[in-house]
Assembly symmetry: C2
Homo-oligomer: 173 residues x 2
């Protein structure tokens, strides 16, 4: 019988579940908790921030991965092209991103972070990193490293799973 259940798992766990179920359950609950909390933070921080917060993700992508075209960018961040289009427009307007013609295809344009964009992103990144560093101030670095490693693996697995068409209710069994 599920010895592990009583100790960590909350109520509401049906009997007859195996350990794998329990762990999945805990992952799920942690995910919800984490996301809800981060979302909340975002709202709080949103006030003191000039630029569209959502657009930072795009800026980050451009800084880190280099120029993209708009559609590719959308795919990279799992967003709709229309969403990205508007956000990019905003970023261009404030001068953090510039449109350059794509040599490979005349009707496309490559988006690239400007110097100012780099600067702004770097500042933001630093802020965020300070915050994270702060939150995990009492962690040893091995654990932080492990967290990254596992999150990376998990997200990657998620990406693959979701790309392979299994959007949820599929079962191959």
């Amino acid at each position: 019988m599920n010895a592990a259940v009583g100790e960590r798992s909350p109520l509401g766990v049906p009997e007859g579940v195996d350990e794998r179920w329990v762990t999945s359950d805990r992952i799920g609950l942690q995910l919800i908790r984490l996301i809800r909390l981060i979302e909340r933070q975002r709202v709080i921080k949103a006030k003191k921030d000039g630029v569209e917060r959502a657009a930072y993700v795009l800026l980050a992508r451009l800084v880190i991965d280099g120029p993209h075209r708009s559609n590719a960018l959308a795919e990279a961040v799992h967003s709709d092209p229309s969403t990205v289009s508007r956000q990019i427009a905003a970023l261009v307007k404030v001068g953090y991103v510039e449109r350059r013609p794509d040599p490979a295809d005349g009707r496309a344009c490559l988006l690239a972070a400007t110097d100012e964009g780099h600067r702004v992103f770097a500042a933001n990144r630093d802020l965020r990193n300070r915050w994270i560093s702060d939150v995990t101030s009492d962690w040893d670095d091995a654990d932080r490293e492990r967290l990254v490693e596992l999150m990376d693996r998990f997200t990657t697995a998620l990406e693959n799973h979701h790309e392979s068409g299994a959007t949820g209710a599929e079962e191959d069994r």
Copy 2:
């Protein structure tokens, strides 16, 4: 000499950063990636789902932690009372949650999941767990366990940090 930088870290990393910065940076990037992806999944799954997805979090809370009053629930999930109020109203309407008078305070009411609510939540939970189990099908259980453990720690740290008033730009230095 940031030996670790060249290997895993993306471009755009300024020189002179220490390893701690890099790890924080990677945590941040992973967080963004993960959240964005999950958000996306939510949209996709939202279609095939009758109930307000956002409300499931509340239902979960009620099932797992037992009855709450509305405001307490809001705080528990880091949401605004108004938001919770509406979501609860919806849950009550479909009969997943019931309002019971709070013996301790006449003007409050305790929210509790009904039997039907339990049932629906259990089904959903199972689905989600199957999905997570699927995504991590090639993980060994120790790693899944570790993921939970680290996420839990991280989220808890976040909660504490955010409760201790440090909402972001504060510095005690």
